[in-house]
Symmetry: C2
Subunit: 522 residues, 2 copies
């Protein structure tokens, strides 16, 4: 029921401007971190779906895969040589490991490390009680309710870097937020890096699609952060996708090795749809993901012991009657929760498959049902980094401007939830009971007045107003309300400062590289 009778009372101005504002604010903060309070890390326990026994069984299956089937490094002799030197069995391009061997190789990976932002206040920590949310990744299309669905361009890329920079609930600028399809394939990385490095100050991802693009990405980062600093500090992240099942192609393993040599963060993400790139069960997908990811993490450690890594995963389910990929399914959500536990046991930061993902073709009820459930499984199970936390639609084919905004509201809500709530004396509000009594309301108690401004998370586009007002205002659904919000965010966007010399150096680098190469579109 709407509590209509309360409206009048709550709408009368509250005496927030009077004496005691600072104290009220202090108290408010002490019982409920508001959205404007920076997220300071998870303060609620992670949910453990699986028992230790069951986790050990999945780890044993990962060992079984690595011993009996193995992993292939196609076209990367250097990677195979690294493993050969540790005593692994090499057979052509296939490498097999005795149980426990790969896990032991992962032991030098740090459990927690910083990913530095160009502005130090944007530096994030991966691991521990920290949670880092990122926008979607890799969509060749964008859509919005004004212009519809279309190939994404560099302008869209820059827009999403700006939106992610402006979003309080995102801590990371992402990587290929959308594919800038109007730029030739061999030059995209230059424009993408330029955008991340100049339009945002949040951490970002570099290119992985060819060795020279990896090197360009690192070179551009060095122009901003300095070669010396980057020798011992991670400022960028690389997404190394395993070509599941059980294949590292040389593009990926080479990119992994170059980033690891440079001491930059390597996130190893197997990509498994249950029944297609692995057997059809959450247990099997979790075990195979663990096996595949550990091998990549081990390679990073062999290249450079102590290299910061993230245990990644990308997995989901399919409708096995139609072949359509499905997201946010209960089986996928359980796999996500299992993988987070497995990654935490491995002792490295976890990017758990999940995020706010959906196969829906519109930012509708299904989209948010899928996305919200996937996000709960991701965050409650204790993932440290969440990719695809905003914008993802149509199984990742589309980055939706409106869904981006809708997802941000839920990101903020989940960050609030991860901080738990206080049970101190002020939280219980005993004084309010003496002001009121049975049957009387608490709206005008001093306790409510002390806290009303900061107690509750305030989403941007949710509408809880009466039906009549909503109808008079055009009966806009949440996706329709989101249109105004992303326009406003882009209008309000303020470009962060950058030293003119650095800006010029970056632009010169891009121009020079572009001039040297003819456009290539594959």
């Amino acid at each position: 029921m709407k509590l209509e009778s309360l409206n009048a009372k709550a709408e009368t101005p509250t005496p927030a401007g009077h004496r005691g504002r600072a104290r009220r604010r202090r108290l408010a903060r002490s019982i409920a971190p508001s959205e404007s309070t920076p997220f300071t890390g998870r303060r609620i326990p992670a949910y453990n779906l699986l028992s230790e026994t069951v986790l050990a069984r999945i780890e044993d299956q990962a060992d079984w895969i690595l011993r009996n089937i193995g992993v292939e490094f196609r076209g990367d002799r250097t990677a195979l040589d690294h493993f050969a030197q540790t005593g692994a069995r090499i057979d052509g391009e296939r490498v097999r490991f005795e149980p426990g061997h790969v896990r032991a190789l992962c032991a030098t990976a740090p459990s927690e490390f910083q990913l530095h932002g160009r502005d130090p206040v944007r530096t994030v920590t991966l691991g521990g009680d920290n949670v880092v949310l990122m926008p979607g990744y890799g969509s060749p299309f964008v859509s919005d309710l004004v212009k519809g669905r279309r190939y994404s361009t560099l302008k869209d890329f820059r827009n999403f870097v700006k939106l992610a920079y402006s979003a309080a609930a995102l801590h990371h600028s992402g990587g290929t937020v959308v594919e800038p399809t109007d730029v030739s394939v061999n030059k995209r990385h230059l424009d993408m890096m330029l955008a991340h490095l100049t339009l945002s100050t949040k951490p970002f991802m570099g290119s992985v699609t060819a060795p020279e693009r990896v090197r360009d990405s690192i070179e551009m980062a060095r122009l901003v952060f300095g070669r010396d600093f980057m020798e011992h500090h991670a400022v960028m992240q690389a997404n190394i996708n395993v070509n599941s099942p059980l294949i590292y192609d040389d593009t990926m393993s080479t990119a992994l090795r170059i980033y690891a040599e440079a001491g930059q963060c390597v996130c190893v993400s197997p990509a498994i749809f249950a029944g297609a790139m692995g057997p059809l069960s959450p247990a099997a997908v979790a075990a195979q993901t663990l096996a595949e990811a550990m091998v990549g993490i081990a390679l990073a450690q062999l290249v450079r012991p102590g290299c910061p890594v993230v245990f990644g995963s990308f997995h989901s389910t399919m409708n096995l009657r139609t072949g359509a990929l499905t997201f946010g399914s209960p089986e996928a959500n359980m796999t996500t929760m299992a993988l987070t536990q497995l990654g935490r046991r491995l002792g490295v930061p976890v990017r758990s498959g999940g995020g706010q993902i959906t196969a829906s073709n519109a930012p509708d009820g299904q989209a948010m049902q899928d996305s919200t459930g996937a996000m709960w499984s991701t965050l409650l199970s204790g993932a440290h980094q969440v990719w695809h936390a905003a914008g993802w639609l149509e199984g990742g084919l589309v980055m939706s401007y409106e869904k981006f905004i809708m997802d941000l509201d839920h990101c903020g809500a989940m960050l609030k939830l991860l901080q738990g709530f206080e049970t101190n004396e002020e939280a219980f509000g005993r004084d309010a009971y003496f002001e009121t009594g049975p049957g009387e309301n608490f709206l005008s108690t001093k306790h409510t007045l002390r806290h009303y401004a900061a107690a509750n998370y305030e989403p941007q586009i949710s509408d809880a107003g009466p039906f009549e007002t909503w109808s008079e205002n055009g009966a806009l659904t949440s996706d329709q309300r989101a249109t105004a919000r992303w326009h406003q965010m882009l209008n309000d966007y303020q470009r962060p400062e950058i030293k003119p010399g650095i800006q010029a150096a970056l632009e010169d680098f891009v121009s020079e590289r572009k001039a040297r190469m003819p456009d290539e579109w594959y």
Copy 2:
């Protein structure tokens, strides 16, 4: 990314009709309970948001409230006398308790009991590892995408009883699923009971709005179940709302006493919006809910020791600037999780506030974002019974036909998730690795063929197909697709059998009662 390349393969007919079907089905069941498999209870652990220390602090605050403020029973001397006899302090209509006193009075309440369906296969167990999902409750309006928003009628009431009966994911017929506003207020309960008892065989709720309506409800149930059976078996449930803060009005406490005397299930649900009917914090709302609910549960035990009870709650947050009630907020979800833990510690089945609730005015993205998050908090924290699991819109003012269908999909998904997944040998699918190898796909492995039909939960209206097909089919959003589904469910509905004598007795009872009373509309 959609895995387009897999479509062709997956669309070719699979040999499900061939030999080994029974064995495949058996194996499939052994690794993944499918939607058609009846839900057999939670097999994953409950999430504990709060530590024992924090829970004890909230329990202490509940004790503080009961000792220092107390609860009023307005106009119900009998209730006060019950408490007086236990040594509680009575002051006018106020009763106060020493710490621990009320909790001790609750000790005779069973931790687990059955609520019998007219068809024994529909009998549910409340408590333990069981989860009972129910439709929404109490809406004066209904809406659908064809006819729009309107006052609900008896026809709508009957429709929702039929839909809940047909829904595999709902275990209970609910109570006042919608208000049949075309029937006079003093006769509604007769038509509602008749619908629950004849159109469904699932457990249901009786009227609480006046003592004679309570007695009519019990009498009608006795016509079906028999007086003797009901003396020792619960077949119906009563929703006793506390008039929070800290008030039981005599309508509610009298209804509670009559149901308890009859040995029927009493669910005691305080109703607290943080900052209005209690102090503004999750901790305070949880403590006050516990205090208020324990008093009602204690009264039921004093009336009839061993009376089956449910620890209920209804709570949420408000936008304190506008007075609008908000649902699915992080603060409300945390309160839900806290209350489930507190109820489990009290040792009685828990109906935790939550369910699939929203303040949204349309079955849009916001509606499903709110609802999905609230449902995760409810079910993951271990609630035994979930009210408002389907249909709720506009803060409960509206029961939406389309949202009912959308919610059902998520109910089914969550029931699948609550059953966890297997990690036995078959689940790991080792044989499939020997059939394939690195880089090869698993779609046509024997393991996938054994499991593809039953491995994954299949929602009814989710669409994971390509954008092009979806567009050609009219670009229907999930709410629009739901319209066809509820029409189909009503068309396919088959009325359960009932002995003609019982049907006639019920109808005679209703006619006779109606004939004795003039219509009253208040």
